[in-house]
């Protein structure tokens, strides 16, 4: 995994708040990095610093060996020279230009004929055929977002920066566009840094995950590794899901899906899965995992997974139990429950999870 973007910088604001990024790296492959965190934690500022729209007060940003910003050496490459695609949360479409001319705006270096072809081809790909002559105000929110994405991608930038690309859309539009977005990012093969506070969006789109909290980067790594092994409780809290595992859809019948995870079979609700899905992420929250010793308990639950307790961590009145059920699974129990079951590392248990508590996210 060779890192393409290296960023360690500080951006201070009047009033004393600051954004601190330590050793943020995005790999060239896998390509889509998700910058994840709650609203207001500084994600947008990080993106604007990378785009060259804000100037960091200290530190440096380098991309592919080229220095974009170095506060100590007073180096600052302006936005226009960074060869990026930047899509802000409000799309930033030019209101006085048609969809077509918005997309063509970043292509002024190309010969007119090539430019025309590129614009037509991009609009076609992104599903805006026939809307080329419309002004932004004559387009719906979803269509505007498509134009903004088309404009950023038409230039084939070296790095694509997307700020909450789907957050301003209504739920049905968002789900449809999310699936398409993944396809476009694959098709154009542009390294992408995507900002979001939506867990589902992060899991559905990302390969690599960077978690931010309170203006700091607190963990980064491969998406499912960060989700399944949060470095600390803070990260786990922000991600709000303790177990995320890649799995394969084996069977789907009567609204229930059977998933294979490392040879273990799980039953989950099949709703919302697009037709033809094979690879999925299985998401299980720790508080939805119950533990039992013996045979008969919780007979109604669909999933009874034999496993071994690996570790116990106190967390206030609760205990985090790390299990090995052929894949790492986290459970959250009260201390009394732990004592009653006399849990200790090495003890064999059954993890019990209802089918409707297992959330499936399709890997596009």
């Amino acid at each position: 995994m060779s890192a393409q973007l290296h960023a360690s910088f500080v951006k201070r604001f009047a009033g004393g708040t600051s954004i601190q990024v330590e050793n943020l790296q995005t790999p060239a492959d896998p390509r889509i990095t998700v910058l994840f965190g709650a609203s207001g934690c500084g994600k947008t500022t990080v993106l604007r610093c990378l785009a060259g729209l804000e100037r960091p007060d200290a530190g440096r940003i380098a991309f592919d060996g080229q220095i974009w910003s170095d506060a100590e050496k007073h180096v600052f490459l302006p936005a226009r020279a960074r060869d990026i695609g930047f899509v802000p949360q409000d799309y930033g479409l030019f209101p006085h230009l048609t969809a077509e001319r918005n997309v063509a705006y970043g292509l002024c270096q190309m010969a007119p004929r090539q430019r025309h072809l590129r614009v037509a081809e991009t609009l076609e790909w992104i599903g805006l055929h026939g809307l080329a002559k419309r002004l932004p105000r004559e387009l719906s929110g979803g269509q505007q977002q498509r134009v903004a994405l088309a404009r950023a991608m038409a230039r084939r930038p070296r790095l694509l920066l997307l700020d909450e690309p789907l957050s301003a859309l209504d739920a049905p539009t968002r789900q449809g566009l999310r699936r398409e977005l993944r396809g476009w990012l694959r098709h154009f093969a542009i390294p992408t840094l995507l900002v979001t506070h939506d867990r589902q969006e992060a899991v559905a789109l990302g390969d690599h995950l960077v978690v931010m909290h309170d203006g700091r980067v607190i963990q980064q790594g491969l998406l499912h590794e960060v989700f399944s092994r949060p470095g600390n409780l803070e990260v786990a809290g922000i991600l709000a899901v303790e177990t995320i595992q890649p799995g394969q859809l084996v069977d789907c019948a009567d609204g229930l899906a059977t998933i294979a995870v490392n040879g273990m079979r799980l039953i989950a609700m099949a709703e919302d899965l697009p037709v033809g899905t094979r690879d999925v992420f299985v998401c299980i929250r720790a508080e939805d995992v119950m533990l039992s010793i013996g045979e008969d308990a919780h007979a109604s639950a669909r999933n009874r997974l034999p496993g071994i307790v690996r570790d116990l961590t106190r967390d206030g009145a609760l205990v985090r139990v790390e299990l090995d059920c052929k894949f790492p699974l986290l459970a959250l129990l009260t201390r009394q429950a732990c004592q009653e079951l006399s849990l200790a590392p090495g003890v064999a248990v059954h993890a019990v999870v209802k089918a409707q508590k297992i959330h499936l996210i399709a890997q596009a």
Partner: protein, 222 residues
Amino acid sequence: MTAQEWQLIGFTAAMALLSTALILPFGVLLAWLLARREWWGKACVETLVALPLVVPPVVTGLVLLKLFGRRGILGHWLHEHLGIDVVFTWKAVALALAVMSIPLLVRTVRSAIEEVNPRLEQQARTLGAGEWRVFFTITLPLAKRGVLAGTLLALARALGEFGATIMVAGNIPGQTTTLSVAIYHSVQLGQDERAGMLSAVAVLLAFLALGASELILRRRKI
């Protein structure tokens, strides 16, 4: 109307158009600098540009007369090096009109530029556009109503200018006399009928320019 009066109207309109054309590029650039850039001496320039709005026009005319007269700093230099005499010629008329109308242009254009969302300009930069391209393809088109309205306001102001013009250009019939100056002169000579007719023309011209400006500003913004 006599041929002399038609000449008067034509000359006044020509001078107003010329002065407006002269201040337009400079005024728009200054408005952009005031709206979008921080620079040393900005507050000073801001005040200087607004001054002709509040100082008595006669005083502005007097300052111009002192600056551009043969013995004035600028007038002396122009006469020595370029052989140009400004005061009491048509050039002085254009100068007076330009100075008196530039505040209206700069103010209107500045607020129009300030209304353009700077994020759109930033967006253009991320798409590879340099500052000139950003200005001509994003800022100016989005502020164009304000620029048009400001231009018409400046034109209307120039058409009716009196105080500064008479100080720096005088009243030489056929050479520097403008509509306003001619009206004043007619009243002094007791030619009330001529004064009334010329006044009606002046009101009509101002009405057209101002009306057009209002119309442009009121139209729905993009």
